[in-house]
C-alpha cells in the first residue's frame, strides 16, 4: 500500500454488500482527491466510512498515526473523535440555527466566549461576512454551501470530505466555489476528498482522480493522464470518452515507433505499446481532438497518417466548437466523433452527407490491453 505521507489518510474498505466495496485509497495533506463514478459505485459510502457515519464489514482507516477504524481489532472511533469536516450534498444545515449558529455548533472545542468571534472569522473566510444572522431558509444555494464549508472547517478538521459539494448551485456559482475550494485547500493543508458526478469539475480541481465502479477503484491518477490513457474500456466509458474501438494487433512498425493495428482490415498505427503482442485483441481509442480533417483538394501535412474516409453523418454546433460524426466507409457502424472549430468546419464545407477524410494522430492513439 502506498504511503500517505505526513498528515495523510490511508483507507482500506472491503465488503460484499449491501453496498459492495473493495478498495484502498490514500490521500496526502497536499492533495485533493476526486471520487468519480456512476450512482451506486460507492462514492458516498467511502466518505461516510471515513467520517465514521458508516461501518463497513472489513476495513481500516488510518490518519496521521491514529487508527480511526480497524475492524480486525474491533476499533472504531465515533465521528465526534475523528476530526473530519464533512460537507453534505444537500448541506444539512441545522434549520433551527442561523448561519453563524450553525458554525458555532461545531466549535464545541473552544470556550463559550470565543465561539462567536471564531464563527464570524470562519464565515468571513468563506466570503459569508455579514450574513451570519441569516437563517438557512434565507440563504441561496451558494450561501448554504459556503456556510456548510465554514461549519466543516470549524473543528479544525484534519481531513475535509465533500459529497457533491457543487451539484446544487448554478454554473457561475459553481466555478466560483471551485476556485474558493482551491484557495482554501492551500490554507488548511489537510487531505481533501470529494465526490462528484461532474468530470470536468474533477479534472479542474483534483490533484488525483479515482474512477470507481461497483465499489472498486478502476484507476487512480492525475486527471489528464486518466482522460488520455484510461486503463480499460470500462474506464473510458465511465469517463464518456468517444472513439473507443476494438482491433487486432498486427505487429510493430519497422522503425519501432508504432504498434500497428488491424481495424477491420484498415491499417492503424498507434503509439507503441510494449505490453501487447501480434494477434492479440485489444481496445483502442483516439481523443476527439486528435482526429484531423483533411482539407479539400489541397493536401496537408500528415495526410498519410492513419487516413480514414467516410461520410459526415451529423454535426452538432456547440458555440465556436463543432462536433462531427463521421461514418467510415469500411466500418459504417463505428462512427468516429471529432471536434473542430465551427468556422473551420464551415470553411471546409462540412455539412451532413458530404464525403470527408480524416487522419488519426498516431501518437495520441491509446491502446488498452485486455487481461
Amino acid at each position: 500500500m502506498a504511503e500517505p505521507g505526513q498528515n495523510g489518510l490511508c483507507v482500506t474498505l472491503r465488503q460484499e454488500g449491501p453496498i459492495p466495496l473493495d478498495l484502498s485509497l490514500t490521500c496526502g495533506a497536499n492533495e485533493i482527491v476526486a471520487l468519480v463514478g456512476p450512482s451506486g459505485s460507492g462514492k458516498t459510502t467511502i466518505l461516510r466510512s471515513i467520517a465514521g457515519l458508516y461501518k463497513p464489514a472489513h476495513g481500516r482507516i488510518e490518519h496521521d498515526g491514529d487508527i480511526w477504524l480497524d475492524i480486525a481489532s474491533g476499533q472504531c472511533w465515533p465521528p465526534q473523535r475523528r476530526s473530519v469536516g464533512f460537507v453534505f450534498q444537500d448541506y444539512a444545515l441545522f434549520p433551527n440555527l442561523t448561519a453563524s449558529g450553525n458554525v458555532e455548533a461545531a466549535l464545541g472545542h473552544l470556550p463559550r466566549g470565543k465561539r462567536g468571534a471564531r464563527a464570524l472569522a470562519l464565515l468571513d473566510q468563506v466570503n459569508m461576512g455579514g450574513l451570519g444572522g441569516r437563517w438557512p431558509d434565507e440563504l441561496s444555494g451558494g450561501q448554504c454551501q459556503r456556510t456548510a464549508v465554514a461549519r466543516a472547517l470549524a473543528r479544525d478538521p484534519t481531513v475535509l470530505l465533500l459529497d457533491e459539494p457543487f451539484s446544487a448551485v448554478d454554473q457561475v456559482t459553481r466555478r466560483r466555489l471551485q476556485g474558493e475550494l482551491l484557495v482554501l485547500h492551500r490554507s488548511i493543508a489537510a487531505p481533501v476528498i470529494f465526490v462528484t458526478h461532474d468530470l470536468r469539475e474533477a479534472a479542474n480541481i483534483a490533484s488525483r482522480m479515482a474512477v470507481l465502479h461497483r465499489g472498486a477503484i478502476l484507476q487512480i491518477g492525475a486527471p489528464p493522464k486518466i482522460f488520455a490513457q484510461p486503463v480499460s474500456p470500462t474506464v473510458a466509458r465511465l469517463l464518456d470518452l468517444p472513439n473507443l474501438f476494438e482491433a487486432v494487433v498486427h505487429g510493430t512498425s519497422d522503425d519501432g515507433r508504432f504498434t500497428v493495428l488491424d481495424w477491420r482490415g484498415q491499417r492503424i498505427e498507434a503509439r507503441v505499446n510494449a505490453s501487447v503482442a501480434a494477434g492479440q485483441e485489444i481496445d483502442w481509442m483516439v481523443p476527439r481532438s486528435s482526429v484531423i480533417l483533411h482539407r479539400r483538394g489541397r493536401p496537408s501535412r500528415g495526410e498519410r497518417e492513419n487516413p480514414v474516409s467516410g461520410r459526415v453523418e451529423d454535426m452538432l454546433v456547440f458555440g465556436d466548437q463543432t462536433t462531427i460524426l463521421l461514418r467510415a466507409d469500411f466500418a459504417p457502424e463505428l462512427p468516429l466523433s471529432f471536434t473542430m472549430s465551427t468556422h473551420a468546419a464551415r470553411r471546409n464545407g462540412i455539412v451532413s452527407g458530404v464525403d470527408a477524410t480524416v487522419s488519426l494522430v498516431a501518437d495520441d492513439i491509446h491502446i488498452m490491453a485486455r487481461n
Binding site: 465515533p78 465521528p79 465526534q80 444537500d90 434565507e138
Partner: protein, 222 residues
C-alpha cells in the same frame, strides 16, 4: 362546583405529563429512527388505546391492578396499599391511555428530521446528548407541544377508563369529568354546566396552542 375534582384532574394531568413526556420521547425516538425486531408490535401497542373502547381498556387495567394480579400484588407488597381505586393507579392508567396522544406526534416530528441533520451534528463534534438538546429537540418541538396539549386535554376529559380504574372516590379519584357525571346524576345541572364550561374552555385553549405552534413553525421554515 367541585373544585377538588378540578384539583385532582390538574394533578393527574401534571403527573401524567411528567411521566409520559420522557417516556414518549424514548419510545418515539426509537420508533422513528431505529429498526428493531418487534417494532411493528410496539407501534401497534402504542396505538391500541386509540381504538380500544375506554371501558375495555379500563376493565383490563382494573384486572391487572387488583391485589391478586401480578402488578397489583407487587404494588401492594411494596406500598401496602391497593393500586386500584387509588390516585397512583389512576396515574398509571392515565399514562397508558395517553400513550398514543403523546408518542405519535413526537414520533412524526422526529421522523421529519432529515437523518443527515443528525449526522451533520455528529461530524460537527456534537455528542449524542448535545445533538438531542441542541438540534433534535428544537426541531421536534412542535410535536412536543402537540403531545403536551393533547395529553393534557385528554387527561382532563377521560371518563371511561377513570371510572373503571379509579371509581368515584371524592378527594382521591373523582376527576372533573367524573364530577360532571356525578352532578348530572344528582340533578345538579347548574354545577355540571359550570364545570363543563371550564373543561370546554381548557380544551379550546389546548387546541389553539397546538394550531398556533404548528402555524408558527410553518412560517419560520418558509
Amino acid at each position: 362546583m367541585d373544585w377538588r375534582a378540578f384539583e385532582i384532574s390538574l394533578a393527574l394531568a401534571f403527573w401524567t405529563l411528567a411521566v409520559l413526556v420522557p417516556l414518549s420521547t424514548l419510545i418515539a425516538r426509537a420508533l422513528a429512527w431505529r429498526r428493531f425486531p418487534g417494532r411493528g408490535l410496539v407501534e401497534a401497542l402504542v396505538a391500541l388505546p386509540l381504538v380500544l373502547p375506554p371501558t375495555v381498556l379500563g376493565f383490563y387495567l382494573l384486572e391487572s391492578f387488583s391485589a391478586d394480579s401480578l402488578l397489583g400484588g407487587f404494588y401492594q407488597s411494596v406500598t401496602g396499599e391497593l393500586l386500584a381505586f387509588s390516585f397512583q393507579g389512576l396515574l398509571l392508567a392515565s399514562v397508558i391511555f395517553n400513550l398514543p396522544f403523546a408518542v405519535q406526534p413526537i414520533q412524526r416530528s422526529f421522523e421529519a428530521i432529515q437523518p443527515n441533520i443528525r449526522e451533520a451534528a455528529w461530524v460537527s463534534g456534537l455528542s449524542n446528548w448535545s445533538t438531542f438538546w441542541r438540534i433534535e429537540l428544537p426541531l421536534a418541538w412542535p410535536g412536543f407541544v402537540s403531545a403536551l396539549a393533547l395529553t393534557f386535554a385528554h387527561t382532563l376529559g377521560e371518563f371511561g377508563v377513570v371510572l373503571m380504574v379509579g371509581g368515584n372516590i371524592a378527594g382521591e379519584t373523582r376527576t372533573a369529568a367524573i364530577a360532571i357525571y356525578d352532578r348530572v346524576q344528582a340533578f345538579d345541572n347548574a354545577a355540571a354546566a359550570q364545570m363543563s364550561a371550564v373543561l370546554l374552555l381548557l380544551s379550546i385553549v389546548a387546541i389553539s396552542v397546538v394550531n398556533l405552534t404548528a402555524r408558527r413553525q410553518r412560517r419560520s421554515r418558509g
